[in-house]
Symmetry: C2
Subunit: 368 residues, 2 copies
């Protein structure tokens, strides 16, 4: 029987091939006689798994040598504190607020530094991204934070801001949790990027941090050693015991992504093409209907997380129940926004999007 | 083929039944059509897994209602900061140093408060536990920290200290990472207990914290929200996305432990009996030989982690190579101590200990 299609915003769908391999290797990884969960993190078996995961991730996202890749714990909400603990020096940082996640990042950073909103689309219901020309970036800020894809509001930066062109020397920090590895990244514009793994990379409990080497070593006294980027980098992510099984699964996802490469496109470029296609199909279906609506400004609509509403919200439950019986799972919107949300991460097959669109048309015909 | 015996100090051996169930359920948990890794942490499926894990753990360790059980991230090294961030109020805390782990705990706590060594066995090579009567506990300390089982040095508190009887009102904090669920706990003597899961409970990346309700709510301003016990407790461990798969595996381990109960003993009591037997066999074999030695004072020898040395250390490599070919894995001692170390966690079968002892005798006969 084919598996249902799972549109969860995270933890989220994983490639079926990855789950099959994990299942087959559960009691004996590669003839070692051990599950990956049972291996010492300092043994040669796990070290080889971890090193390959790191180098595959570097390859996939074309991460330059000036950046370190760190495997950490705590997810995006922990990073909201860990970033200012490491970069702010207790001074100031600027935030562009385009949804719930960047808003939470600013609030948490305010514990550690003068964390100011440089621009916000809150008054517009987070339906657009404020034009970079209007951002009130301050001289001397230690970093500028954006959430490059807002999971809840479905808003995505289609290109990263060029802070230098805006006359700002501070490094750009991006929370790219919910679209990491779905598109290429222009690393020349980035100082630090972090991602909770549970949306597009693997299981919850792993955070991937990509940080420019020159930003290490400025942590506040209050920064726990286990979350000090310098300490983590110097210990190759082995200062504390890393989340070994989550790294293994993420590594299998990276291998799967590399296999998705096409004749003219490496893994992530091929995924980007597919993701563009998947999201365009769904947005077209929504826009072409008088029954469903997405209000986000087209230029900054997310390819990954697509919130939409039934114009008649009284039909929400019927829509969700019908979806479930057709094997279309976890379509309910975030409680702060309501309506529906379809997350179309890398592991969501084109067939899943087609099945959703077919169901939406059918439901519309029945209820319009 | 039977699996080899894995004596790793952590991440460590898991019950084979647990791994088999995890493998079988990898693509479809309980008819949900999803892997546990793919489930929203707020969905009914994962909520049921998490609630059962929590209640089974409470049952196993007979944890009274006055204590909250928190599922967190970062392991013991992160808790070394998180505990003083939550309990110290920036004032003072006392540490009984009986090995590497309690030593590290004191060092990290010194970032946040006046962290003083109340007693230490460092000068004796960590071969004993200083008598509680000699501990220099200070009036007004916010907590007293011990590591109730030192994984590296193989030293274990056979009973927890009764601070009240020592005239001390401070709560006792125990790092019980490496013997949690191997024996019962006298909760009347404990304020807070924490354990990285990767030794006796499940995969790395999950930390279990058991904290008395009245100790919540005193965190320092610098405490990240994701690591504030009050915030974590108020959100039932769902403030940030928890390490869902690790919680699921730990939950399967808890169910396995409950099944190990015997006619006259619940799960942990039955394990305690078995662990006593396993460790006594190995200590007897060591003590009865002129070839192997363990120098820890008998009254505080660990049942979980048994370091031992060949009197002729030039034979270490031959010993380890021979062990490996017999399917006895990960016996090398910690680099700071040298020699060998056999970790006999709950999931290590009696047959594994017997196989190790048989090999030790054989090796002695060949090389003595």
């Amino acid at each position: 029987m084919s598996r249902p299609f799972n549109f969860s915003a995270g933890p989220a769908v994983l490639p079926e091939e990855v789950l099959q391999q994990a299942s087959a290797e559960m009691l004996d990884w590669n003839g070692s006689g051990m599950s990956v969960m049972e291996m010492s993190h300092r043994g040669e078996e796990f070290m080889s798994i971890c090193e390959r995961a790191e180098s595959d991730f570097r390859l996939l996202l074309a991460i330059p040598p000036a950046f370190r890749i760190l495997f950490m714990q705590g997810g995006g909400l922990a990073e909201n504190a860990i970033v200012p603990l490491n970069l702010s020096r207790g001074e100031q940082a600027d935030f562009v607020v385009t949804g719930s996640w960047s808003q939470k990042s600013r609030q948490e950073a305010a514990k550690y530094c003068d964390a100011r909103t440089a621009a916000s689309s809150q008054a517009d219901g987070y339906l657009r991204i404020p034009n970079a020309d209007t951002w009130a970036l301050r001289e001397g800020s230690r970093y500028v934070h954006i959430c490059s894809n807002e999971t809840i509001h479905g808003v995505e930066f289609s290109t990263l801001p060029d802070l230098k062109a805006l006359g700002c020397d501070a490094p750009l920090v991006i929370d790219f949790s919910s679209h990491v590895a779905s598109r290429s990244v222009d690393w020349s514009r980035v100082g630090l990027a972090f991602a909770g793994a549970q949306k597009n990379l693997g299981p919850a409990g792993l955070t991937v941090v990509v940080v420019r080497e020159d930003l290490l070593g400025n942590s506040l006294q209050a920064c726990p050693s286990a979350f000090d980027y310098r300490v983590v980098a110097d210990n190759r992510s082995m200062y504390n015991t890393p989340p070994t099984y989550a790294i293994y699964i993420a590594g299998l996802v990276f291998q799967w992504l590399l296999r998705q490469g096409e004749a003219d496109a490496l893994g992530v470029a091929a995924m980007e093409r597919r993701n563009t296609g998947k999201s365009q199909s769904l947005y077209s279906a929504i826009d072409g209907s008088g029954f469903y609506v997405n209000r986000v400004e087209p230029a900054c609509r997310s390819r990954m997380n697509i919130p939409f509403f039934l114009r008649d919200e009284l039909r929400n439950d019927a829509f969700l129940n019908g979806a479930r019986t057709r094997g279309l799972l976890q379509l309910k919107g975030h409680k702060s926004v309501g309506g529906m949300r379809a997350s179309l991460y890398n592991a969501m097959p084109v067939a899943g999007v087609q099945a959703l669109i077919a169901y939406m048309r059918e439901f519309e015909k029945e209820h319009a």
